[in-house]
């Protein structure tokens, strides 16, 4: 996708909320910096150099950062799945459940934009064994699996074993083993999932 103000590749995709209406902006790095640095919030017609004042545009998905701040934010990665905020902004898809915790501050204005609300009021899970409602504890397994793989690659088997035990501990608390219903499990073979 091209920048809306020049022929360069657009790398910043900004969702702006203006008097209740959502507006999409696709800008190259220079124009994004100019846009985010100016006071009015309107994309400037000139080049990046005409933007001096660093008054952030409120409500942007960039959450009122200057381009430098946005660049730093973009490099921030999820501790569990490793997705960067930049990758999310480009693909529009998050990497794992922990992203909602890791990028909470950044996602909140976006969620408010889309839904006009930030609080879930619908159905909630009921859990046995006094487990919490939120599944953040279980989602840690994603990061532990990654660390375990890294440890194995480095031939640090002691460390890998520790990670594996930690994963098992968490999964034992959370994951009910599926009681295999014999008949169903058996005649599935032919057309079931991958072997």
């Amino acid at each position: 996708m091209k920048c809306q103000q020049c022929d360069k590749q657009a790398v910043f995709h900004i969702t702006e909320l203006e008097s209740g209406a959502v507006r999409e902006l696709h800008l190259c790095e220079d124009h994004a910096r100019a846009y985010l640095n100016q006071s009015g919030g309107e994309p400037s017609q000139g080049g990046p150099e005409d933007a001096e004042e660093a008054t952030p545009a409120a409500g942007a998905l960039g959450v009122g950062q200057t381009a430098d701040e946005l660049a730093i934010l973009d490099q921030r990665a999820c501790e569990m799945c490793g997705i960067t905020f930049f990758e999310f902004r480009n693909q529009g898809r998050l990497g794992c459940p922990h992203d909602y915790v890791q990028f909470e501050k950044e996602l909140e204005p976006l969620i408010a934009n889309i839904h006009g609300a930030t609080e879930h009021t619908g159905r909630r899970p009921t859990r046995a064994n006094s487990l919490p409602e939120g599944t953040e504890d279980l989602t840690r397994v994603i990061g532990l699996r990654r660390e375990m793989k890294e440890a194995i690659a480095l031939e640090e088997y002691e460390k890998a074993k520790e990670h594996r035990d930690a994963i098992r501990g968490i999964e034992d608390r959370w994951v009910v083993p599926s009681e295999p219903p014999p008949s169903v499990a058996d005649d599935r073979g032919a057309e079931g999932g991958p072997a």
Binding site: M80, C81, I83, Q91, G92, R93, L94, G95, C96, P97, Y100, V101, L107, L110, I111, I114, H115, G116, A117, T118, E119, H120, T121, G122, R123, R124, P125, E133, G134, T135, E136, L138, T139, V141, I142, I170, E171, W174, V175, V176, S178, E179, P180, P181, V184, A185, R188, E191, G192, G193, P194
Partner: protein, 358 residues
């Protein structure tokens, strides 16, 4: 693979039996869910996708509602079979075109379908004929509750059920109705209606076919937001607007009959004539003409044609269905010829053969 048996049946949602089924084709509720201890699908490795698929399949198979389901390994299907499932609305186009381990579980009535590894780990869908959002919601709630007993769905105390795209977060629910609105299209009121729907944050989209060109007078209305309201409120939000749209469409139909009696009768008769005599016909034209005939049946201008037949033809004249029925691959030209042949045969033989233009 039991796809062949599906070609002989039609899904419950096509029966044209539910309330208001002259205008409301089907009611659907969909829930997006993810397992808490795996990355979302787009970030999951090949191995993780296979693990997720197995994890969910095993658990779904062991809950009561899961026992009667048929499992289809979408990842290993031929393209035409995936297309076939899309035409029946049992899987989404995205699910058909995706990569890696993925599957769908469907019930014999074709009311419930569970897509594994679509955009989210699990997409539960429940579809009923006619206007029955409440029934679809009550049914999907049972399915969701049973699965949640065995599957730790990713959940955030404030944001609710967590999804790969923030547009689905919270309830993860998408409530939709498929409406047949030919009279609003003919009287050019449809745009006005849609603009008013957007104002109350409902989404509208046309039904797309081959070549992704909008066709016919079939429209899907759905909720746009998923967070901040309860599932019941969102079901109501869509449900409340449907009677209004039904009323508009009915009035437009009455207007057409009253003010342009000859015209509308002529249009319907011509459409019926082409469907019964054409030697080659595209999917788009078929959809357009079936839409007119469907309206004609509802207005009593055509006798002896059942709505369920028209609904079924809308699906069975689509490319993959035609090829499955014929038992061979066909290119576009051959499909157009085969489609015309199938339509002629349908309207000449069987019960509908004596169909008459009143």
């Amino acid at each position: 693979m039991k796809l062949e048996s599906l070609t002989q049946s039609i899904g419950e949602w096509l029966r044209g039996t539910g309330p208001e089924s002259d205008i409301v084709m089907s009611s659907r509720v969909r829930l997006a869910r993810n397992v808490a201890h795996y990355p979302f699908v787009s970030r999951a490795s090949e191995q993780e996708r296979a693990d997720i698929e197995r994890f969910l399949r095993e658990r779904i198979a062991s809950v009561p509602v899961g026992r009667g389901l048929e499992y289809i390994d979408v990842g290993h299907l031929e393209e035409i079979d995936r297309q076939f499932l899309v035409e029946r609305q049992l899987i989404s186009r995205e699910h058909a075109d995706a990569q890696g381990a993925r599957s769908v579980a469907i019930d014999r009535m074709e009311q419930v379908s569970l897509m594994i590894n679509e955009e989210d780990h699990l997409r539960i869908q429940c579809m009923h004929s006619g206007l029955d959002l409440r029934g679809a919601w009550e049914q999907i709630k049972v399915v969701d509750d049973q699965i949640e007993k065995l599957v730790p769905y990713a959940f955030h105390p404030r944001f609710g059920y967590l999804t790969a795209c923030p547009t689905n977060v919270g309830t993860g629910i998408r409530v939709s109705v498929m409406l047949h609105l030919p009279a609003l299209v003919i009287t050019r009121q449809i745009d006005k209606v849609f603009r008013s729907l957007h104002k109350i944050s409902l989404a509208v989209r046309g039904l797309y076919g081959e070549g992704s060109q909008a066709m016919g007078d079939f429209y899907q209305i759905s909720n746009q937001t998923t967070l901040g309201r309860t599932e019941e409120e969102l079901v109501e939000q869509v449900g409340d607007v449907v009677p209004v749209l039904i009323d508009y469409e009915r009035r437009a139909r009455e207007f057409l009959v009253r003010e342009t009696q000859q015209n509308v009768h002529d249009q319907v008769s011509r459409a019926f004539g082409i469907l019964r005599t054409a030697q080659t016909i595209s999917a788009e034209e078929t959809m357009q003409l079936l839409s007119r005939v469907r309206m004609g049946v509802m207005l009593g201008l055509i006798g002896d044609v059942k709505i369920a037949d028209i609904n079924s033809l809308l699906v069975r004249t689509q490319p993959a269905h035609l090829q499955k029925l014929r038992g061979m691959e066909l290119d576009v030209n051959d499909r157009n010829i085969e489609r015309a042949r199938y339509l002629r045969q349908h309207f000449e033989g069987g019960d509908s053969g004596r169909a008459s233009v009143n």
